[in-house]
Amino acid sequence: MAVDYMSLLKLDERELAQRRAFFEITDEDLARVAKLRDFAARHGDAIVDDLYQLILGHADSRAFFADETMVRRVKSMQKQYFLGLFAGNCDLRYVQDRLRVGASHERIGLEPKWYLGAYGRYLRLLLDRLFTDFPAAEAQAAFRSLSKLVAFDTALAMDTYIAANLDTVARHQAAIRELSTPVIRVYDRVLLLPLVGTVDTHRAQQIMETLLLRTVEDQAKAIIVDIAGVPVVDTKVADHLLKTTAAVRMLGAVTIITGISAQVARTMVQLGVDLSSIETRARLADGIELALAKVGRVIAVKA
């Protein structure tokens, strides 16, 4: 799953500038952290080790890391990430790099709580070492600058989590839509589409396309659309039904709408929707009978 988070999060120059302004990351901050590169190189390994003592010390967070090889790999990634903090630039390339980290955590299913907890320790480890290595005023200034970048990174990671989840939801919705347009061949040249659920713009279009394709494929003469499972039939749904019927007619087939409840009939009349150009029946059974008649068949009682 290669999701392009940069575009998903609309991360362009403008968005970046806005984020930087809100997180108060100034050029001064960047220059200050860049000067700490030696410090970072000196402590990088120890800090990453310490971080992983936390993560591996808890059974639940440990479970995300399959074996030693994986731990070694993520540790080296973490080291790169850590050094990246001191790169001294906060441009789109930096953001792209940060998003990769968030995405890789999301991919292994590491929940935000572990991520945020680990980030807390990151800050504490940095704080301790800064105050050991530098005079207080300098250490404080450095820590302020670093904490801005860390907050900036955290926001990116959280956005990645959310975007990834929304992406999953969207894909599920697409899958459900597909499932919910089952065209059934009831008899030779007779098709049935039971509509269940909401008919939104996207789905209406899909229904139309599916029906037209199947009409041609099956050389169908009668198409029954049962709307008993559609909770609200408003003008939009009616409009879709009328348009679909007109298109189906062009292919030489008739559409029969069934499953119209008493409430829907009354509401349609009050709305002023004219469905007289479509064959309608209250019950699906009546629709099937009518459809069979269209292909020259009857349902007979066995003698």
Partner: protein, 143 residues
């Protein structure tokens, strides 16, 4: 006697799926107030039309849903607000069969027939507010 507002709920209309949420909320409200099946279908459909107009013609807005009571009668009142382009020719939009969206153009005029009270205020360039109300057919005496 003035209409009392017993409860209210505001929903945002930001995407097409929000229309579904609005009408689901309206349906639940109507059923709780003892609307019969016809009245429930009518008020839910009106909500669907008006919420859809907010989304299609104004790009979004909000729906304020209220449970109301007047002299023992209970009803649903809905305020659909948007800051869209407004309706230039209200008379024509309300007459029915007119659409700027190549649709049936029956949403506004049809909703009016589905509810008991209907009011539109629209200013071009400012936005539109549609307020409608529907009463339960048989007034229930107890709260």
């Amino acid at each position: 006697m003035t209409t009392q507002v017993m409860a209210q709920r505001e929903l945002q209309i930001r995407c097409e799926d929000d229309i579904v949420l609005v009408r689901q909320a309206v349906r639940v409200m109507a059923q709780q107030l003892g609307f019969d099946a016809f009245a429930t279908a009518a008020v839910t459909t009106a909500a669907s039309e008006l919420a859809r107009n907010v989304w299609t013609h104004a790009g979004g807005g909000s729906a304020l849903l209220e449970e109301i009571r007047l002299a023992g009668r209970r009803g649903v009142r809905m305020h659909f607000r948007d800051q869209g382009p407004g309706i230039a020719d209200l008379g024509r939009a309300l007459a029915g069969g007119f659409s700027t969206a190549r649709s049936l153009g029956l949403g506004l005029s049809g909703s009016k027939r589905l509810v008991d009270e209907f009011n539109v205020e629209s200013t071009v360039g400012k936005g539109t507010v549609v307020v409608v109300a529907k009463w339960a057919r048989f007034s229930s005496t107890t709260g």
